[in-house]
Amino acid sequence: MRVRGGMTDWLLPLLLIVQPLLWAVWALSRRKPLGGPGLAVGVGVNGALTLGIALNLLAEGGRVLLLPGLAGDLGIGLRLDGVGALFVILTWLIASCCVMQVHWYFRDQPLLRKRVWHLVLPLWSGMNLIWLANDFLLIYLGMEVVAFCVVGLIALNGQAQPLRSAMRYLQAVLLGTLALLLGAGVLVVGHGTLAVTVADQSHEPGPYLAVASALITAGLTYRAALFPLHTWLPPAHGSSYAPLSALLSALVTKASFYILARYWLANETLFASELLGGMVGVMASAAILWGGWMAWRQVKLKMLVAYSSVNQVGYFFLMFPLIAAATPEVAETARNGAMLQVISHALAKAALFMAAGNLVMGIASERIDGLAGVSRFLPISLLSFGLAGVSIMGLPPSGGFLAKWTLLQASLGTGQWWWALVIVTGGFLSAAYIFRVYRQTYLEGPGEHDFHYGSLWLEVAPMLLAFLAVGLGLVAGMPLALLDVEVAP
């Protein structure tokens, strides 16, 4: 592990984490909500910092930056490697699009808009902290900052129903947090470190590690909404404002998976338990099948998209049975597949929610059967939805397809071919619920004047993200190359 503490090393990552907070402070200090230029500057600065980190990483390789003194001994600090950089870039992409979408969506509601900036920007900060943290202390801090912001975002307009959804989310957070915190406590008691990579891997896993892992896995699984701990997600994401649901479903849920993946991947030799992997695999399969089935049965468009998140989360978690007791090459394939799935899902889900929001606004109804005739009058949003749907279904040439392919190769490589069947069946279920929406839009329906046309700017972000999701399959070489940049042991 190349451990350096020089000022220059710390500058970029620290700035990246802190910049959205400063931006939020600036937003707080103004009476009126931030306008277009203010947002553009913030996005641009963050983008420059992100690019800087990525380039620096490619040039100098991965490394760990530990705080001086006692904190450093506990492993507290930042970890710069390919996975983190990839997620930072993904966050910049999606958060920027969400910022633009929020700006136009809440054009006529300055009070709500103001509130949103006070919540979204610290959320961005928290996410960057999670991606770059090396230890459970900072991860915990990031997760809780995110949790506070998410509660605010769900209950944004202060109405009763979103409040209830926010409370259900908060309950999940409390439980998950408790488990995570105590798990980290057991880890520090047993091994004296808070780092995600438990330092001495040569020893056999003792009881402390087992208990810590159980707690941490349970807590994070709850917050990632893996079946059967998913019940808080559909109301939370389905009832928020569409651009915010995009942010929540696309990025926030990924944080828990990211941490869990880091933990398991970093401590691979300690976790090679096929039984545990198999259990997670069963839950993941149930998520895929149950989520897909429920999505197909939904009556409201945004709830369909929310259940689709429950369905897709299962694919990420299939990584765990595939890396347990697999050869290094196959484990790498499994990791690549899961990460590709995460990235394309993030892009596609954000596009899906934003487009759904536009459609719902256009037809002034939340119901799917209200979509009749929309293909003539809201074609751009429909196209964004359609393209994003292609990635969710896992059809070529999208990123979803390449992810599915990679996971299939990993499944065949470990000899556990039954996961391949789950993956293919899941694809079929996804097609069922996506085509349900397509089908409605081809029905002939009301005429031109029954639709509400919003600003054209609202169509830009979902289209951009949908194109990225669909085209990812063709350019996947780049993110995969970045994934390979690791911290040398």
């Binding site: 506990l74 459970f136 801090l141 009763a160 409040l163 409370m167 406590g185 520090v188 808070l194």
Partner: protein, 99 residues
């Protein structure tokens, strides 16, 4: 002797938390239950921690407990807001609110 005391206190806190969680449906009280469970867990961990790992545990508790408290406060705040809203809708509804 000290260890026994800590174990007892930790165990009591844990049991109190579990009882509170199971017996009350009130969301804010459940949040309080979580806080108790967190506190109890840390106290128990104190029993088992070797002295050279103590600082790490204290650091974790120093962050975790205030944050858990803040979350519990947030839960309470949300609950009250929800009651306010339902009061505005139907001022006569008051059952099941106070335990």
């Amino acid at each position: 002797m000290l260890e026994l005391m800590f174990t007892l206190v930790g165990g009591l806190l844990l049991m109190a938390g579990i009882w509170l969680f199971l017996s009350r449906r009130d969301f804010a009280l459940r949040a309080l239950a979580f806080l108790l469970l967190t506190l109890g867990g840390f106290v128990l961990l104190l029993v088992f921690v070797p002295s050279d790992h103590l600082s790490g545990l204290i650091l974790l508790a120093a962050l975790g407990l205030p944050v858990s408290l803040a979350l519990a406060v947030l839960a309470r705040f949300l609950q009250r807001r929800l009651w306010q809203l339902s009061d505005e809708v139907d001022p006569d509804a008051g059952e099941g609110r106070h335990d």
